[in-house]
Each structure stands twice: as C-alpha cells, then as structure tokens.
C-alpha cells in the first residue's frame, strides 16, 4: 500500500473500509509498526498520542504495543490462546507494565468495562468455554487493559450472528464514549461501519481513495468506487435493485499504471490511465483520489418489485411437508428442524432465513438429497422424492441442483473448470463428452465468465469466479430449482452483489425457482419473493418479503430485523 495518510482524534472512530486485497489489514498492522512476513514498512511517519513510532527499532516499538496502541484481531476464537485461562490472557499485557497487586484489580475492572463477569470463577475459564460474543469481549478487554490511547479493531464481528454483532457494536460505541479512545475499525462490511464510524476512509488496491465524515461519505460518495460499493450493499428494510461494479477487484500485485480503478470506471478519461490521481480535498473535511470526482453521479436506489403478485394461484413445483430432520452424534440426537412445511412455485424465489443453528442448511440439504429426513416428505411435481440423492430418479436429480457456500471447497481442485461443469451434463442429461464440451462454453458465457477460464484449475480463480463456476455447474443440468446455500457469505460485498445480480437475471431468463438459504436480511430483500424465518428448527413466520420485513409480526423476526445493520438506520439491538 502507498500514500496512506489519515488522522484520528480522541473519542473518534475511523472506519477503514475495503474489500479483500485492498490493503486495509496491512495498514492496520502497520499502525502497530508491524508488518507480516513478506511485507516491509519502507516510509512514512506514524505518530500515536504525541509519540513518534516510525523509524524506531523493533524492541522499542514493542514496548508501545498494548500500552499506547493495541489491536483486536479478527477471529476471536483463533486470537485467544486455547490453553491459557481467560483471566491470565487479559492480565498478560499488564504484567509487563504494572505490579502484581494492581493486576487483579485492573483485570476485574476491565472485564466489567466490557460487560463480562469479573468473578474469579469466570477468570479461570478457558476460551472454549465461552460463547463467540464473550470471546470477542475478552479479546477487547485484553486490548484495553493497559488503557491505550488508540485501539485497532480488525473486523471484530466476523463470524458472530447478527444479534450478537449488534450488541458488540453498541458495546464498542459505549467504550469509545467512556474512555475517550480513538478507534480504527477495519471492515469490508459497509453497513457495520455505518453504525459506529465518525469518519470513513475507503481503500482500493492499496491506496486511500476517499475519506471524510461518515454521514457525508455514505450519503454522497464522490469516488466512483465508493459509489459502486454503496450501490452493492443490500438494505434489509427496503428491497432494492443491486448494481454491481463491472470487472474484477484488483489486488496490490496487479495494479495498472495510473488510477487502479480506471479499468472498471465509467467516468474515466485519458489522464486516469496515465497518472495516479493525488488525494486532494473535495471540501473542508473530505478528500478524494479522482480526477473526475465532480462528475460522480448521486447515490440513487432503485426499488425492486418482488414477484409475489404474479405468482398467485400457480401450482407448487416443490413442496416440503412436515419435515423433521435430526443429527445423530455421539452425544445423542439433535433435532435440527421440525414441522417444517412450505412450497415453492415455478420461477419463485423463497428464502430461508435464520441464525446459525436454526436448521436452514439442514433443510436445504434434505431438499437436495444430501440428508435423509427423519419424518415428512419432499414432493416434486406431485411425486414424492426418495430421501437421499442416490435413491432418486435421474430426472429428479437433474431438476434440483445445489450451489454450496464455500467457493474454495465446492470445486475439485484436480479437475479443470470445463470438466467440473461438464460432469452434470454427462451424468444427468446423458450427453456425450463432445456434446457436453460444447455446452460448457455457452454456460460460462451465461455466468459472464470468459471462455478461456474453461481450461483453468480452480486454484487459479478468485472466490467470485469460483462461485460463478459453481452456478454454471448447477445450471448445466438444466434444473427447475436451484438451492443456494449461503452462496454469498464467503464473498466480498461487491462480488456478492454481482453474484446476486446474476442469480436474479438467470431467474428472469430461465424461469428458475430458487431456494435461498441465508442469514443476511439484506440479501433476502434484494432477491427473494417470499421468506421463511427459522428459529431453532421451527418456522416462526413466513410470507411475502415486503410486508414481512417492514412489519414483522413474530417477536424473533422483529429482533432480527431490528439487529440487521443497514446504511440508513442504526440497529436497536442494544440490551
């Protein structure tokens, strides 16, 4: 990364936003004077609370870490040492800088500050005995115990469910006020940043492309990339058309000469390709790195009309009746879903929403034939389906296809893209090898991938590209229903928008029905026609998208909607 400069005042939260490869984590670590193996800090000044840290030898900088400036890492489960008790981990930083008697008192104080019990019993627990949210608070406590002036938080709510996330964010806001901390909050999730940041700095390909007060940047971004990013963020309360940014995100290694965003930019001029635009002030408090920032259009949201009205009265394509799914483990039987009934009409998009553990993935797997239900049945076009895929007819297997969550896992790394896509064509439609190969190119085009990717291995593709290949593979069988199991959770915001946009278009073109599994209400609002809300394996509410999201009836649904972060409203999930 280069030419990154910003200031953070005490009591202020700076949101550092960017997608993978933008350099945001590298920047955050550099603020500690730390660089990962393979990265070197070669220039610039770093001043924290009046002390200059840049240019100091490692040993001295280390003395300041934790005391002056501390770091809360991304994954709390991985950041806490599983063999060390929680109290000891928090105390560890203190032991270097304070006396023994003080230590216990300070640890107890800090634990209370993050709203964790300060009892001896709690301090003697190990990380695995805490919930995800508690682990994260311990990590924050460890960062705060020496009362530093600046705290760096690297996506601290990743992996937490929505309600816990809302609580954590409220917590952080409280701490900021109480302790007067300056916080640098690194995230790719604009909605989350919107809830707590005072200022936002957007990074792309290793450079800051825009910064300014949060409210201004969010309502009227001046850099085309920031504009594109904001148009890609789904709003959970208002169904809107997602517009993705054309092209693929550029990593620091493949930066072109001139502006890094130029190849994807609708406003580019000749100057953009030749020189890198400097970060110049656009107004009193804002800076933009763009020659044509004055031409950037205003942020406009296109509303989307779900299909409900047009589908009334249509016969169901798939219907799930009184489904009961269980997991048999060594500790006994866990019921994943019970009394689940719903139907999907041809061309309809039904979303199953819930937190982790709600049973939505299990239900999806039952529909796809990967999990045998304990009771109930799944009916396709009035014919009951065998519980497992192996027992179903070829036609049934062909008509229901599934796209998995993890794009890094769903393609065989030893098979080329063409082979992965051709396989269902040969197995489920009986075409010969040559016939299948001809269709592969067509399918790649349909998912907007260049034909030359057909001969590549999955290891050479990005996450977004792999997910598109997975979609192409699902389409290869010419299905009537595609089950999408959290297909965008592992992707960056703009890539997520692109994949969702693709799914919406394919639905329109091919009349596909979709069963969308997700925990993200924003995704539901952008793509689904009807929603089922699951809690603990039971359907608590179902109905058309618009009315359900704007006027939820069930208490759990209300909680979910309230906790979902959005760009426009602050979530009210505060305890």
């Amino acid at each position: 990364m280069e030419d990154v400069s910003f200031r953070v005042a005490p009591g202020e939260v700076l949101g550092l936003v960017g997608e993978s490869g933008s350099g945001k984590t590298t920047t955050a670590l550099a603020l500690l004077g730390y660089s990962r193996p393979g990265v070197r800090i070669v220039g610039g000044t770093l001043e924290v609370a009046g002390r200059v840290l840049s240019g100091l030898p490692e040993a001295q900088v280390r003395g300041y870490r934790g005391r002056l400036i501390s770091y809360v890492p991304q994954d709390p489960a991985a950041a806490l040492n599983p063999s060390v008790r929680v109290g000891d981990q928090v105390a560890h930083m203190l032991r270097r800088h304070a006396t023994r008697a003080d230590v216990e008192r300070r640890v107890a104080e800090t634990l209370e500050l993050v709203q964790l019990p300060s009892s001896r019993e709690f301090r003697r627990r190990f990380p695995h005995q805490l919930s995800g949210g508690q682990q994260q608070r311990v990590a924050i406590a460890a960062a705060l115990v020496c009362r530093p002036s600046v705290v760096l938080m690297d996506e601290p709510t990743t992996g937490l469910d929505v309600v816990t996330q809302a609580n954590q964010l409220a917590q952080i806001a409280l701490l900021q006020q109480e302790l007067g901390l300056a916080i640098v909050y690194v995230s790719h999730d604009l909605a989350v940043v919107a809830t707590i940041a005072n200022r936002i700095a957007v990074m792309y390909a290793g450079r800051v492309v825009e910064d300014g007060p949060a409210a201004q940047v969010l309502s009227g971004p001046r850099h085309p990339y920031a504009l594109g990013l904001l148009s890609s963020v789904p709003d959970p309360r208002e169904p809107q058309q997602l517009r993705s940014i054309p092209g693929v995100a550029v990593g620091v290694g493949d930066r072109p000469t001139g502006c890094a965003f130029a190849p994807r930019c609708a406003q580019r001029v000749a100057a953009c390709v030749e020189t890198v635009p400097p970060l110049e002030p656009a107004s009193d408090e804002r800076r933009v790195r763009c020659f044509e920032w004055r031409e950037t259009p205003a942020l406009a949201h296109e509303s989307r009309i779900p299909l409900v009205s047009r589908l009334e009265g249509k016969a169901a394509l798939l219907s799930v009746e009184e489904l009961r799914a269980e997991h048999h483990g060594r500790g006994g039987t866990v019921v994943a879903a019970v009394h689940v009934s719903f139907s999907i009409a041809a061309g309809e998009c039904v979303a199953l929403v819930g937190e982790s553990g709600s049973g939505k993935t299990t239900i999806a797997r039952c529909v796809a034939g990967l999990h045998a239900p304990a009771r109930g049945q799944i009916v396709l076009d009035r014919a009951a389906l065998a519980p497992l895929a192996g027992g179903r007819t070829r036609e049934a297997r062909r008509r229901i296809q599934i796209v998995f969550q993890n794009p890094y896992d769903s393609l065989n790394p030893r098979h080329r893209v063409a082979e992965s896509i051709a396989r269902p064509i040969r197995i489920l439609r009986g075409l010969s090898r040559r016939g299948a190969e001809a269709e592969v190119v067509e399918l790649l085009e349909r998912v907007r991938l260049p034909a030359r990717l057909a001969q590549r291995f999955p290891g050479e593709l990005s996450g977004g590209e792999r997910q598109r290949v997975a979609v192409a593979r699902a389409l290869a069988a010419k299905p009537d229903l595609v089950v999408c199991d959290e297909v965008t959770s592992a992707l960056d915001v703009s890539v997520q928008a692109a994949v969702l946009e693709l799914l919406a278009e394919l639905r329109a073109e091919l009349g596909l029905a979709l069963l969308l599994i997700t925990h993200d209400l924003g995704v539901v609002a952008s793509v689904a026609d009807r929603v089922l809300v699951l809690e603990g394996g039971v359907v608590c509410e179902q109905g058309p998208v618009l009315p359900l999201l704007s006027h939820p009836e069930h208490e759990y649904t209300r909680r979910l909607v309230a906790a979902a972060p959005s760009l426009t409203r602050v979530p009210t999930g505060i305890p």
Partner: protein, 282 residues
C-alpha cells in the same frame, strides 16, 4: 498450467534435481547394466577375494566371481521385487483406506481393526515365519512384503480420505447420484494422491531394506543369484581382504534410498503448493 507441467514442477527444486538425477542413473544401472557386464555373474573367473585389477575392475568375491558383473546384474532383483511389492501394497492398502475413510458404516471399524491386527505383527518376524512355512519362492516374498505395508498405507489413506470426503465437491458428486466407486475414483483419489506419493518414497525404501534383510538372512534369494543384499551377506567374511565386494553394494542401496526419498519429498512439496487458495487473484 497443464496438469503434466504441474506434476513435473517438482523437478525444478534443488532436491528434486539431485534426486531425479540419482534415481535415473540408478535406473539405468539396473536396467541396462547387465548388457555391460564383462563376465558371467555366476561364473567363477578368477582367484577369490582379489583386489581390483585391470581385468576385474572391482575385484572378485569369495568364490572368485567378478564383483562388477554381479553388481550390474544385482540391482534388478532387489529393486524390481521392492517396486512390485510396494505397488501391490498400494493397490490393496489404498483401496482399503479409501473405502474405510469414505464409508460411515460399520465397514470402517471392521476394516481398521483387521489392519490393526496386521500392524501388531513385527515385519521381519512375519516374513521369516512366512518363508519358513510357505517356502522361499519369489511370489511368497513379494506377497509377504506387500502384506507388511498394507496396514500403514490403509491408515494413511484413510486419514487423507476422511479429510477430503467432507469437501463441497464430494457432496456435489453425491448430490448428482454418483455411485461410491465413482466418487472414490474421480473425486477423492486425485486429491489424496499427494499424501500417497509423499509416503511412497519412504515406503519403497523400506521395502528395499526389508528385502535386503531377508536376503541377508538367507531366506530370500538364494545363491548363486546376483543380488546386492546377498552380496553383502556372502562377502562380509572377507571384508578385510576385499572390502569392495561389500562396500559397493551397500553404498548402492544407500544411494538408491536417498535418491528415491529426495524425489518423493520434492514431489510431495510441489503437490502441496500447486492447488492452494493463496494463488487467488484478488
């Protein structure tokens, strides 16, 4: 990058090159050596235990046979049998391992307990008993060495299979309704190959050493066969007079071991990095 290029990438590393060169040299020695042998390996052509001379470049052994000719002929049996035994062991062991690792039924514990029983028997003891009971034919030898390897191969392959079996692409194949055999062959086997190959180098070496030990003890190949391990055993009595008859075969066995292992390590290292996610264009 083509699949072939990926497979041969290991040859670019320093270790890979040295190992490959060594292995190829030894392979040449073993395969075409006999055509260069100056004398009949079994024929008595000179005074026993003579030091190297112009006529006998490595001297003569305890019976007066030309050491060089015996060396050139002697690699075939030991390496050939070792390769055969190891290949057979993989065929059986990997199949067992794949099946045990993939199935979640009672077949898994049944198979693995059977493997445990085999594993409990000390290899050399097993071979000695086998040779005594079933005779000293080559078939028995190969089967015996293969049996010794099968349980550990099954374990390694089973562990690797279990890791791969939970991946998305395997589930995608199951969702397509593919039969178990097809899933094992197309989806799982190519992805456990890396583990298998890394293990193969060590295992081949172990086979060579087991065969050498068995021959040395007199229960494998019999004189007058030319065999490196047999030569070590036959000529150790005269080591002070004619060290070459013992030293050269021993060094060749050691050399082969090192070369094969270098190649195996280089292959494993290259397979380990060819498909990682870090090469993502982000």
């Amino acid at each position: 990058m083509t699949a072939l290029a990926v497979r041969f990438r290991f040859a670019r590393s320093g270790y890979g090159k040295v190992g490959l060169a060594g292995s190829l040299f030894l392979l040449a020695l073993i395969v075409i050596g006999p055509f260069f042998a100056p004398h009949d390996p079994a024929g008595i052509v000179g005074i026993p235990l003579q030091r190297p001379t112009g006529e006998f470049l490595l001297g003569t052994d305890g019976l007066g046979r030309d050491v060089l000719s015996r060396i050139l002929w002697g690699g075939r049996s030991i390496v050939g049998l070792a390769v055969l035994a190891t290949a057979l062991a993989y065929l059986v062991g990997a199949s067992i391992g794949l099946l045990a690792g993939y199935t979640r039924s009672i077949v898994d514990p049944l198979l693995m307990r059977a493997m445990d029983v085999l594993l409990a028997v000390p290899p050399l003891l097993f071979l000695l008993v086998l040779a005594t009971g079933a005779g000293r034919s080559l078939v028995v030898l190969v089967l015996g060495v293969a049996t010794v390897h099968v349980p550990s191969i099954a374990r390694i392959v089973r562990a690797a299979t279990q890791e791969v079996a939970v991946r998305g692409y395997v589930e995608a194949a199951v969702a397509r309704g593919e039969r178990t055999a097809a899933v094992l062959r197309r989806e799982i086997l190519p992805n456990v190959l890396g583990t298998v190959l890394a293990d193969a180098g060590i295992r081949l070496t172990a086979s060579i050493l087991i065969l050498a030990s068995v021959n040395f003890l007199g229960l494998g190949r019999q004189p007058p066969a030319a065999d490196w391990a047999l030569m070590i055993s036959e000529n150790r009595g005269g080591i002070t007079l004619q060290p070459w008859a013992v030293a050269v075969p021993a060094l060749l066995i050691a050399f082969l071991t090192v070369a094969v292992n270098l190649v195996a390590d280089a292959v494993a290292r290259s397979l380990g990095t060819s498909t990682d996610r870090k090469r993502v264009a982000r």
